[in-house]
């Protein structure tokens, strides 16, 4: 198991937690835990003194555990929309005959 100093050293050299964890062969959340002593999933609370800990990130550490926090891609939805639009002749005609094409892409 890597030591706290190992993880912190990598962070000091510019690595992210994800990069450091990859190089050390451990999960990113564990790397955070080792470096800060604080679980990345916020399952512990921070005391006033904890805010000075090296390696501490304010917010967003759930992502180190693989918990997604951004929208998923939905290609099937995009395909369905294209089908709806292309199958609407009036919509196509209206776009083709509209005098001002500004904004069309």
């Amino acid at each position: 198991m890597p030591t706290k100093e190992q993880v912190l050293q990598m962070l000091r050299s510019g690595d992210s937690y994800e990069a450091a964890a990859r190089r050390l062969g451990i999960p990113a959340g564990l790397a955070y835990m080792i470096a800060t002593g604080i679980p990345a999933d916020y399952s512990d609370s921070l005391g006033p003194d904890d805010y000075g800990r090296e390696g501490l990130q304010l917010g967003g550490t759930q992502a180190l555990l693989g918990v997604p926090n951004q929208p998923d891609a939905h290609p099937e939805v995009a395909a369905w929309i294209r089908g709806r639009a292309s199958g609407d002749d009036q919509m196509q005609d209206a776009a083709a005959t509209r005098p001002n094409q500004e904004g069309d892409k």
């Binding site: 304010l58 917010g59 099937e76 639009a85 919509m91 892409k105």
Partner: protein
């Protein structure tokens, strides 16, 4: 037992000498493991209870949810959950949740099982039949193309996407009686805020309250009803803000406030009107703001007469119809909806057209006359001064029971904290909305905030605290009878009303509402796709027409009259949660069929076998012919979708697990119901079926149950162009059919093909606006009307309250929020002669949805009960109105019938039979009518049964004993409750006499784990005429010790009260 298991030995021999840690842990404790530790995955979600919108982490192991916790990254909740949210694991996993379809045959005594597919087909058959039976091609010679044969209620607890499909399918079927809890909770908010400012949603967001210097919480017990949002008030208080709580009942909100002001329920207009009078007479208003940004200088029609001129009514009252002709209320030189002259019926006056002001003020045409000195006797400012002159501190004390010195302190705190450097905010909830003058309550606060310059500025505004996860969404994408998505009004049945006439009548000349044609046509394209063409008015004729009010209370009357025969309840429990619950149940007993979709067997599902009317003998189970279908619903963890919270922000909740058994999402239910109905009608050549057969209803499905894609539905709501590119703003929508958009105000939520509502950038990585968390309508703006945070020249009124400013170098508006203004419009822009649309407003007119660009101190249009708020007594009140000859709102909507008796008030004979004022409220641990809380063991243990709060003085007067029983009686019914004797209920001196108020939570019913009589047994369907919201926050009752009688004796008790009070169907109906 091993020696090492002895805690004392471990304590003495180990490092934990003081026994504060490991030494005293038992083997059992050491064997415990946090539920989250064994989870396979964590799924991002949103709490399904109130509208604060706290973010949740859902922990999943295998096919099961094993824990739900607060998400610490959320800028809304910062990881916190209230007791309900903390117990939401039980909402989803409790044993007493129904998972199979149940069926009750007509006149049968019990349920029987039914397979899901058969049930779906049976319901589809009944929809088709009831629709046809109740079909109306026309009424009074006007085309209606609708059915009155069936109705639905529910949507505020559902996802936006579910509301969208309900409205879309049911509208295509011609069903106009589509309603949800938004009618019952906050419909008055939409009307009031919309009419005042141009949009019907909160002007700000709870986290912005931390920037307030003074916060007035009135008509809300925020610390208990919205406890997680209350953290922002705690933040403000820690920074030195003054917090004032004005409420009939002392609560935790009061305990945390600097000043608690008890007042008589039902008198808030008098209280706020008194503050307005103080602000005007003491010259405390923000003159530069008022002059530039409100309609204070606008001259009003010479024919307008105020309540001061007519002793309590405005000009235009038609007593025989209980309506006003608002023609004289307009601005001089401007016409309201001049339109085409084809508005040939008074439907709007009955329907209360102002709900459509939810995102666009009433249409005005012409140019107003103004007097910038504010001295003209007919200018709004002078009319306002005269109107409120009689609301003196002494009058406030006489009506509200608030001592002059307390009232003066409130005035001083508010005015000292409202100026260029400081801001005051108002927070309210249903304590304001649920009155026969509910709209005017909120209008009064709106007027006050405009006078003080507190709209559009940080720490200012009016925060409407909504109570259901998506009740804002179910207003925006409305499962409401009078609206189409984006607050486009449902068309009324007028002669020759085609699309052009509709647009001419309802759009505006200036402001963004002038683009209504693009919004309407894009909606019609979303619903009817290729079938919608210019030749057929884009299928405008497919929309059913309304003819007045078809609110949920009107639907009950339709049921009692036998015209409405089928009823869908989707996440709503009117047998407990709607006013006059006995009338609700009697209406349902007159149905042919009823569909209930819920988690448990709520009272609205079982009234036919165990309802109160069965006990009294008024109804017998075998005499009730209503066929009942119960469909178990999927929980928020079992489906994906978006909620719109109280700050207009959409947040996406991901599906964590598949629902079990027959549990299905409402998206699944509505989509497949529509699919089956379309299959059954596929061969039809009947014109009534064309709208549903031409409907775009082809959503991609997936999963074992063929769930429709909620992502696809949200994308349809967002809209796209002819290439399939998702539009990023409603500014891209066109009126020629080349764009499609299901709800124009939500355009942008799927910008760039990305579900913006699913964004969850941690709040600590953003500024306080947290604009990358979720997506707020319109255009992701967080503080509405934020142009008003800068002066007319475009610079902040003060550095301390800077939010938006004009950047001359960049030639655009800059600041902390998305500008609620055309980004490149200069502050010194002056519209050229004849300019229309948004170009018709100047660079210093911040209220861009209003036709005159101003905040409305005076409402020249949009309201049906007057342009200025006026104090009237509640429908059932122990007091006369000391201000005017008219006691009650003369335009209020009442429904006098044997099931909905009203009471004598004030000095009328018999009024003293009901001497006490009852107000209802919400508990932290329960939710609305209880369907989502009274079956949860944790919550039921915390609040196990109904109680009535009375003061020690009233308890002594009436012989009520703490923890004993009391019976509470109105003209509608009688209920019992445990007595809670408490100083929280403050006796007041009103009109020179001692006045007692009692408080009761309204969540309870006989089913579930936490039980009690339904408090709505006492209330009446007496409605605000603008919004059709019921008055349940102030009514008169009697309270006596002991339990209520059982069986027929209960009816005898009610009857004896009615006789003593002389109650008949005509009681309480005078103007």
């Amino acid at each position: 037992v091993k020696l090492g298991d002895w805690p004392v030995l471990r304590q003495l021999t180990g490092p934990d000498h003081f026994g504060r840690g490991a030494a005293v842990a038992s083997p059992t404790t050491r064997g415990l493991e946090a539920r989250v530790a064994s989870a396979d995955k964590v799924v991002k979600s949103v709490c399904p209870y109130c509208a604060v919108g706290c973010a949740q982490n859902v922990y999943v192991k295998g096919d099961d949810v094993i824990q739900i916790e607060g998400d610490p990254d959320s800028p809304v909740s910062r990881g916190r959950l209230c007791p309900k949210g903390s117990a939401s694991l039980q909402l989803t996993t409790r044993d007493n949740r129904q998972s199979r379809v149940l069926y009750r045959r007509p006149n049968a005594g019990d349920w029987e099982p039914l397979d899901l597919d058969t049930a779906m087909h049976m319901v589809a058959d009944r929809v088709i039949a009831a629709r046809r039976d109740g079909w109306q091609w026309e009424q009074d010679g006007k085309r209606t193309r609708r059915t009155m044969g069936l109705a639905s209620l529910g949507g505020a607890t559902l996802d936006n996407e579910e509301n969208y499909l309900i409205k879309k399918l049911f509208t295509a079927l011609g069903i106009v009686q589509v309603e949800n809890q938004a009618r019952i909770c906050h419909s008055s908010t939409v009307v009031a805020l919309g009419t005042s400012f141009g949009r019907g949603g909160s002007t700000t967001f709870p986290a912005d309250l931390q920037n307030s210097d003074c916060i007035v919480i009135q008509g809300s017990n925020m610390a208990e009803s919205h406890p997680v949002a209350y953290q922002w008030i705690a933040e403000a208080k820690a920074r030195g803000a003054a917090v004032i709580h004005v409420d009939p009942r002392f609560s935790r909100t009061s305990a945390l406030a600097d000043l608690f002001v008890p007042l008589r329920a039902g008198t808030d207009i008098a209280f706020l009107g008194g503050i307005i009078n103080h602000v005007l007479t003491e010259h405390k208003y923000f003159r530069d703001y008022v002059q530039a940004y409100t309609n204070a200088s606008t001259i009003v029609d010479d024919r307008f007469e105020d309540t001061e001129d007519l002793d309590g009514v405005f000009s235009g009252l038609k007593p025989e119809k209980r309506t006003y002709d608002p023609t004289t209320w307009g601005y001089k030189g401007m016409a309201v909806n001049s339109a085409s002259g084809q508005r040939d019926a008074d439907y709007e006056k009955v329907a209360g057209g102002a709900h459509s002001a939810g995102s666009g003020g009433p249409g005005l045409r012409g140019t107003p006359e103004r007097d910038e000195t504010l001295e003209h006797p007919r200018c709004v400012f002078q009319i306002l001064k005269r109107h409120y002159a009689r609301y003196t501190p002494e009058v406030v004390a006489d009506i509200c029971g608030v001592p002059v010195e307390t009232f003066t302190r409130v005035c001083d705190l508010i005015t000292a904290n409202s100026n260029p450097d400081r801001t005051t905010s108002f927070v309210y909830a249903v304590g304001w909305t649920q009155h026969t003058v509910g709209v005017q309550y909120i209008r009064t606060a709106s007027i006050l905030q405009l006078l003080l310059g507190n709209i559009g500025r940080p720490g200012g505004g009016i925060e409407a605290m909504r109570g259901h996860a998506s009740i804002q969404g179910s207003s925006d994408i409305p499962t409401l009878f009078d609206l189409l998505p984006g607050y486009i009004p449902m068309p009324h049945a007028h002669h020759h009303e085609d699309l052009d006439a509709f647009l001419a009548a309802d759009s505006a000349e200036r402001g963004y509402w002038a683009k209504m044609d693009a919004y309407v046509v894009s909606l019609l394209k979303a619903w009817w796709g290729p079938a919608a063409t210019p030749d057929n008015g884009f299928c405008f004729d497919y929309l059913p027409r309304i003819t007045g009010s078809h609110s949920t209370y009107d639907t009950v009357v339709e049921q009692l009259e036998g015209r409405c025969k089928g009823y869908f309840l989707m996440g709503e429990n009117p047998a407990v949660g709607s006013a006059n619950s006995r009338m609700q149940r009697k209406g349902m007993a007159n149905l042919d069929w009823l569909v209930v979709r819920d988690f448990a067997l709520i009272e609205s599902a079982t009234w036919w076998k165990d309802g109160p009317e069965i006990e009294t003998g008024e109804m017998t189970t075998d005499g009730i012919g209503t066929e009942v279908f119960f469909f178990p619903a999927a929980a928020h963890t079992e489906k994906a979708g978006s909620f719109t919270n109280t700050q207009r922000m959409l947040q996406w909740h991901h599906q964590a697990v598949e629902p079990k058994g027959d549990c299905r999402s409402d998206l699944w239910f509505v989509y497949h119901l529509g699919r089956i109905i379309r299959d059954k009608l596929a061969a039809s050549t009947d014109d009534i079926d064309r709208p549903v057969l031409d409907l775009t209803w082809d959503y991609p499905t997936s999963g074992p149950a063929d769930d429709p894609s909620a992502e696809a539905v949200l994308a349809e709501i967002n809209g796209w162009d002819h290439t399939g590119r998702l539009v990023s703003s409603y500014e891209e929508l066109k009126p020629d059919g080349s764009t499609s958009c299901g709800c124009w105000i939500y355009s942008g939520v799927y910008a760039d093909g990305v579900n913006q509502a699913a964004r969850r950038k941690p709040y600590l990585q953003q500024d306080w606006m947290a604009k990358e968390w979720g997506w707020a309508w319109p255009a992701n703006r967080r503080i509405l009307y934020n142009r008003a945070s800068a002066d007319p020249a475009g610079q902040p009124w003060s550095e301390r309250k800077a939010l938006l400013w004009w950047n001359e170098d960049q030639g655009q508006w800059a600041g902390h929020d998305v500008p609620d203004f055309p980004p490149g419009k200069r502050p010194d822009y002056v519209p050229p002669e004849g300019a229309r649309g948004i170009d018709g407003l100047s660079g210093a007119e911040p209220f861009i949805m209003q036709a005159d660009g101003r905040g409305w101190l005076y409402a020249p249009a949009g309201l049906v009960d007057g342009p200025l708020p006026t104090h009237y007594e509640p429908q059932d009140s122990p007091f006369d109105n000391p201000l005017y000859a008219h006691d009650r709102n003369p335009a209020r909507r009442i429904m006098p019938r044997p099931e909905n008796l009203l009471q004598p008030s004030g000095s009328e004979p018999g009024s003293d039979v009901f001497p006490f004022v009852l107000t209802t409220y919400r508990l932290t641990e329960h939710f609305t009518s209880g369907g989502m809380s009274r079956w949860a063991p944790y919550l039921s243990e915390l609040q196990p049964e109904l109680a009535v709060e009375v003061s020690p003085e009233l308890a002594a007067e009436r012989g009520l004993v703490n923890a004993g029983w009391a019976t509470i009686v109105s003209a509608r019914g009688a209920i019992e409750a445990r007595v809670l004797v408490t100083d929280r209920m403050t006796p007041l001196t009103v009109r020179g006499r001692r006045m007692h108020q009692i408080g009761m939570p309204y969540h309870f019913g006989p089913n579930g784990l936490a039980t009690g009589d339904a408090v709505n047994t006492l209330t009446s369907a007496s409605l605000d005429p603008n919004a059709h919201i019921q008055e349940v926050k102030a009514l008169a009752v009697d309270v006596v010790p002991g339990r209520r009688p059982r069986g027929p004796a209960l009816l005898d008790l009610i009857s004896s009260y009615q006789q003593r009070a002389g109650v008949t169907v005509s009681t309480g109906t005078s103007i």
